[in-house]
């Protein structure tokens, strides 16, 4: 009994010595904690960025914590609301649609980076949405520049060539969908009736949003909004879509060949390219534009996110140093994450790099990255404001009415009323 106790004591002593030595070492080196939500995308790019930083700062370490996106947002919002900063990371990834909401509700929680970063080197629309009262708070990360991803082999069966998809309108796409359905029997697009991606893409492509630059609701009497609802209604009525529920069913639909295409953000490339057996069978065209709408273009945005430093961060200086020295300087880094993760950064000098000019065999040898960066430059900047979630949910609430061919003016009036009520 005695022997066992003393052995335990020895083990404990050794363990304690080990821990104290470790903590001495840890006190000198900084550990930067990062929160993000996708191990293959933003998490992987962060690891890559740090491996570059580590070359000059060998003692520092990084701890990339991956959450479910909704869970991360909930945790962040709950902690900021409680005012308890313990356990918050140094750097957090925030989706662009939510940026202003966080900045305006918890202003002092984030560190302004204006004095550390030359923001003229980033895409202007990304800088604008992280700016509040003249201070910019983010290191802009990926773009959500949209494209129309299609199975070139299946469209060829229906006699559609890639040229026919260049700079078209939604109504031309609907005609193409009818031809595809007739010849191949396959639906053109999977549509999740609980989603609002289509609305975000259509609105921004014409430089409009649920709110104007001052944050006022612009739903009623907004020709872009009306055109978007009418276009979506025509799209559904054409019988060329297939309903899906949730993300897995949605991406499963076009990656398994049950439908022939989708319109989405550039980040969808990673999901599509994960199916190596479909190499050479895909193409990307510009997003369709709204018919008969002033200012409507073929470039839009869906999603995208940026890195923010918390002002309570224990390693704040280190985090800023790391972000500015890699994310705001290293052109080579952006080539690597573009090739490996399909991450299209918004650091403008990176567009001159090699990877951006390369062609991609997966997409039939097209210079897809160059195309995407060309469209990126054409995205109209809009003010997402602080109520995008509320407006989305008001729009989605009217989808049964839109689907069943309801009166567009009544639908818009209902959305407008709900948004006004929810944003008072």
């Amino acid at each position: 009994m005695n022997r066992i106790t003393s052995r335990w004591r020895n083990t404990l002593a050794v363990a304690l010595t080990g821990i104290s030595m470790f903590s001495v070492a840890a006190a000198q080196a900084a550990e930067i904690t990062v929160w993000c939500w996708d191990p293959n995308f933003n998490g992987a790019t962060m690891e890559e960025a740090f491996s570059r930083y580590k070359a000059n700062n060998p003692d520092d370490t990084i701890n990339v914590v991956i959450f479910d996106k909704a869970a991360m947002e909930q945790k962040l919002q709950a902690q900021l609301a409680s005012g308890a900063t313990d356990g918050l990371p140094d750097i957090v990834l925030i989706e662009d649609y939510r940026a202003q909401k966080y900045l305006q509700s918890f202003t002092s929680a984030f560190e302004p980076l204006t004095s550390h970063v030359d923001y003229s080197t980033f895409a202007p629309y990304k800088v604008e949405l992280a700016t509040l009262n003249g201070q910019t708070y983010s290191i802009p990360f990926d773009s959500g520049v949209t494209g129309y991803f299609y199975r070139s082999d299946l469209l060829a069966e229906a006699g559609i060539t890639p040229d026919q998809l260049n700079d078209i309108t939604w109504d031309q796409l609907i005609e193409i969908g009818k031809a595809v359905k007739e010849k191949t029997g396959l639906p053109l697009l999977p549509i999740d009736p609980t989603g609002s991606d289509w609305m975000r893409i259509m609105l921004q492509s014409a430089g409009s949003w649920y709110f104007d630059a001052d944050g006022n609701v612009t739903i009623k009497d907004n020709p872009v909004f009306k055109a978007a609802i009418e276009t979506y209604q025509r799209l559904l009525a054409a019988g060329i879509t297939t309903p899906v529920s949730g993300w897995t069913e949605y991406t499963g639909s076009f990656t398994s060949g049950k439908s022939v295409s989708t319109f989405s953000g550039v980040w969808m490339t990673a999901t599509i390219k994960a199916n190596a057996d479909q190499s050479g069978k895909w193409g990307v065209a510009p997003s369709p534009r709204l018919d008969g709408v002033e200012g409507a273009g073929n470039a839009s945005n869906l999603g995208g996110s940026s890195w923010y430093v918390l002002s309570s961060a224990p390693e704040k200086e280190k985090a800023i140093d790391f972000l500015t020295s890699v994310w705001a300087k290293d052109v080579d880094f952006y080539q690597k994450i573009l090739v490996n993760q399909g991450a299209l950064g918004t650091y403008l000098p990176a567009r001159e790099g090699e990877a951006f000019k390369a062609s991609d065999d997966f997409f039939g040898g097209e210079p897809v990255w160059q195309n995407f960066s060309t469209w990126l430059a054409e995205i109209p900047a809009v003010n997402y404001g602080i109520f995008t979630e509320e407006a989305d949910s008001a729009t989605v609430a009217q989808i049964p009415a839109i689907t069943s061919g309801g009166n567009v003016d009544e639908i818009i009036a209902a959305i407008d009323a709900q948004v006004r009520q929810q944003t008072q």
């Binding site: 900021l80 309903p243 529920s245 989605v396 609430a397 989808i399 049964p400």
Partner: protein, 276 residues
């Protein structure tokens, strides 16, 4: 005394604080006293009305169905001559101890467009086209009701089983000798004897359904178009998804408190009347 202090810190203080919160207006952490503004907002809020209607609909349909099922199962499994009743008891009880996320994922895959539910119905020629279970407002509600019924029936059944074991066997034997048929023994002996337990389970189930959150959040996210939005999910959206509006969220949660109070009171009164 320490117990009272703990109770004060962890029960009374948060309740009073949330009551104070429910009168605050503002965005995020910048709030100010708003008087009755939140209550006025409540009366004009179409989303709130929709969430309230959905919650009450789930309550009105699901709780009676579940309790009757639980009662019937309990009665069947209480039969000492039934072969393998230990197995059936466990099988029916098991859903309520399974992981919530796991069962939601399974329900989602069962009711996917090409899921087993549609495949079975198509194979039996009961439907001509696959049903879009989770994206159709009506069927999404059906799936949510099925899911919570599946999960909680066994839980209530255990209460009834336990109570049934306490009913003296001799009462049934006497009734049998007097020639009382099985259904009448169930209706006139078992059910009245279980009245306190039935009251207890209906109060518990009512509270549980009024707070319904997990299933709708994991299965449908309140969709399609708010058809399965419940009050709890709306509170969650107000606090964590939308522009944080903690004061208003607190007001909506007090609606649940009031509803629980009223419905429990009605159930107690109803049970008392029947006894008299």
């Amino acid at each position: 005394m320490p117990a009272l202090v703990l109770l004060g810190i962890f029960m009374v203080y948060p309740i009073l604080w949330s009551l104070w919160m429910s009168f605050q207006v503002g965005r995020g952490m910048n709030f100010s006293f708003g008087g009755l503004a939140n209550i006025i907002r409540l009366t004009q809020d179409t989303v709130f009305i929709r969430a309230l209607t959905n919650t009450l609909l789930f309550l009105a349909v699901q709780v009676p169905v579940m309790l009757v099922l639980a009662l019937l199962f309990a009665n069947a499994l209480n039969d000492s001559k039934l072969w393998g009743r230990g197995f059936f008891r466990t099988a029916i009880f098991l859903p309520c101890v399974t992981s919530l996320v796991a069962y939601s994922v399974i329900f989602k895959s069962i009711f996917a467009i090409d899921g087993i539910a549609n495949q079975t119905l198509l194979a039996l020629h009961l439907i001509a086209d696959p049903i879009n279970w989770l994206s159709d407002p009506f069927y999404a509600r059906v799936v949510v009701i099925l899911a919570i019924t599946w999960r909680w029936t066994g839980y209530n059944m255990i209460f009834y089983l336990a109570a049934m074991q306490n009913i003296d066997r001799s009462i049934y034997e006497a009734a049998k000798i007097d020639g009382v048929p099985a259904w009448a023994r169930f209706w006139y002996i078992t059910v009245p004897m279980l009245k306190p337990v039935i009251l207890f389970t209906s109060v518990i189930s009512t509270i549980g359904t009024l707070q319904l959150f997990d299933e709708v959040n994991l299965l449908t996210m309140g969709g399609p178009s708010d058809a399965t939005l419940t009050l709890s999910l709306y509170i969650y959206n107000l606090s964590f998804k939308f522009m944080p509006s903690f004061g208003y969220a607190a007001t909506v949660s007090y609606v649940i408190v009031v509803l629980v109070g009223i419905l429990s009171f009605i159930q107690f009164v109803a049970a008392r009347d029947r006894r008299a």
